[in-house]
Symmetry: C2
Subunit: 406 residues, 2 copies
């Protein structure tokens, strides 16, 4: 007999019952954005590889400029001019200076750069320096940024554009990433018709297939949509078997009637192991989790809002676990615009719309009697009322997970 589990217990079960899959692949930098790093990335060289100037000016031995000023400039012969993109393979002579552009190489011996603004070219091969250089001033030294062996990105990281920039900087133009998971999506229910079909009496459109496909594709998965299966255990078993053979994970949604839920449990038990039947959460209680080998099979509620939350809260962490993905998420602080009651004993989730007023962010819970998916159109995020909380008063501070995207 399986008991209803708390969300925390379900997340712990995901960690203990599943492990990162072995599959990795090597992709070019151009295809790396948003992918999950499958190894730590360490620099293999110095960045920068040479001492550089951060300004247009003159490289000097700082000590040659000590005490100089507008009134009494240091007058230093110009030894050479460094061009952009060329090396400076010589040593700065004592008492002389070298012209360098921003980003240009600074010759050995120099330990500071004086900005052009504080210098004067006397036209006779000497430069007047009107401001002393402190050692290290206006320079980046070799390896200041990174050095060989320094880990700059950790395994599990979802690569961002700044990360791509950093990888380019160290010449790491190919990276090992977790393979994209292939996830099968099956909708069940005699009442379902595809979204493009006008529902007849008693029928509704299949919302879960397109919604799950969009969610999981954006999450980096390949999705195989197996369409709608009627409530027939043999047909469903056949479809699930096919999906298991083709996918890394299978999501079965619907079967909101008792008979079908039992069928889903029986099918999972016939091909593997049933791990969970029911989560103490609202919406989304009638959730099933099982596995066959390393592959998870999830029975999502048929109600689209419930399917939405279960996918955000448990399926994405599960798929994250299979790919070793860092699942750290951040919340935005807001005040709830109206009091809201909750069922003691179940974590309760609400989508909300956010507005800003006088610098304060306000979250308006999206409810309405039905809680159907169309009410979630235009949602900006969601929040949770904890299991042990009986509700929230107006203006209570809440933490919102953002789901709308800039």
């Amino acid at each position: 007999m399986l008991y209803v589990k708390t969300p925390e217990e379900v997340l712990a079960m995901i960690d203990s019952e599943f492990a990162p899959l072995e599959g990795t692949e090597v992709v070019s930098l151009r295809d790396a954005m948003g992918r999950i790093l499958a190894e730590d990335i360490a620099a293999r060289e110095y960045v920068p590889d040479f001492d550089r100037s951060t300004v247009d000016g003159f490289a000097v031995r700082a000590s040659d400029t000590f005490g100089c000023s507008d009134a009494i400039p240091a007058i230093l012969p110009l030894q050479a001019t460094v061009l952009m993109g060329e090396g400076a393979d010589f040593i700065l002579n004592e008492g002389e200076c070298v012209a360098v552009p921003t980003g240009g190489a600074v010759p050995k011996g120099a330990d500071g750069v004086v900005m052009l603004e504080y210098t004067e070219d006397y036209g006779d091969g000497t430069i007047g320096i009107a401001k002393p250089a402190a050692p290290g001033m206006n320079m980046i030294f070799r390896g200041d940024d990174v050095y060989p062996g320094k880990v700059i990105l950790k395994k599990g990281r979802v690569l961002s554009s700044a990360d791509i920039g950093a990888l380019a900087a160290i010449g790491q133009v190919r990276v090992k990433v977790a393979k994209r998971l292939t996830v099968g999506v099956i909708s069940t229910g005699d009442e379902l018709v595809p979204p493009e079909v006008q529902p007849g009496p008693g029928q509704v459109r299949d919302v879960n297939s397109p919604m799950l496909e969009a969610m999981l594709t954006a999450f980096g998965c390949n999705v195989i949509n197996y369409g709608i299966v009627i409530d027939d255990e043999a047909l469903l078993a056949e479809k699930v078997s096919k999906a298991i053979s083709q996918c890394d994970a299978v999501l079965l949604s619907g079967g909101s009637s008792v008979g079908v839920k039992d069928a889903a449990c029986r099918i999972i038990e016939s091909v593997g192991q049933l791990l969970l039947h029911g989560i103490a959460i609202k919406p989304g209680k009638p959730t099933i989790l099982g596995k066959t080998g390393e592959k998870p099979i999830v029975g999502l509620p048929g109600h689209p809002v419930a399917a939405y939350f279960i996918t955000k809260l448990f399926v994405q962490p599960l798929l994250g676990r299979l790919t070793g993905r860092d699942m750290t998420a951040y919340t935005v602080t807001a005040r709830v615009t109206e009091s809201i009651s909750a069922n003691h004993g179940r974590a309760q989730y609400h989508c909300c719309r956010l507005t800003r007023k006088d610098g304060q962010l306000y979250a308006k819970p999206i409810r309405g009697k039905s809680g159907l998916i169309t009410t979630l159109a235009g949602a900006d995020g969601y929040f949770c009322i904890d299991r042990d909380c009986e509700g929230l008063p107006q203006n209570a501070e809440i933490q919102v997970i953002i789901t709308s995207g800039v």
Copy 2:
């Protein structure tokens, strides 16, 4: 003569100098995730289109159950059984009941559903009802969710997975969205080599091309990467002309030397109008903005961190403006782990890493002498020290824009 502008002035200039482009296209729901809606979406029908039960149970006239209890159940003849996916095109007789599954149609006349748990099938064609139904109980009525003409998504919305679900629910399987912008990226600088090349003396790898390509692709643009152009005004002018003819917007990055910046200004003036030269921001001051017709040309700083911030702070809002995109963004509240000084008179941006301790989020600024892009590897977000602020003490509360992704 163009003066350095504040970030607010630059954003206002973007709004006044540029307008949404006309181009839209119609895509299927499968391709709509993350796209920018080009029209308001209104429902064209009722959802649900029929009265539905939210539980497995018996539809009743609520008044027939008033006063019933465990001890004295209301005994109602079973008039019919509604099957999932079928209509209920009859009227519930007074004093009778109808079996309905979760999600099933409720016949006319019924105004409540009693859950299976509170009923008993006597096996003689009658059902015992042990709990009274309040009118409306366990039902969703026709149009509760949406009704014809109700706007469920507004123009400019970046479509989320919940939005896709809502569109499926109302049968809107094709949506009009803004065309993807084509953005040209050109890197300039004699010192640049492609990321895959080992830099020689005085050379550095081109970070901006791959970084900008990743940022803008993730932002929904098609990117044409024109590669590296040496600091030669004629060559650069030719490349810019080509990019203008092929793209909706052109980003020129680099030219950190004074001569090249002047060249970029001259090139923009020769093909259009120079709007801006310099933003009171750190990093990123040497930024140029111009336009030719409706097309923006941006001269980004060559320094990758500066190019990164200018793209996040101004180029994305500019591309958002061209596509009518809702650019609402949210911030996460954190405390800064160390005191940090700032240049009075310029808005100053820092990337940071976030950690959570005892429920409090802490932001560690990423600095280091160089501020080169590799130090930004693994950043979780960024924050701003306002122009009029001289710095932040340790533990000061800051607002962080998240850039790392779950």
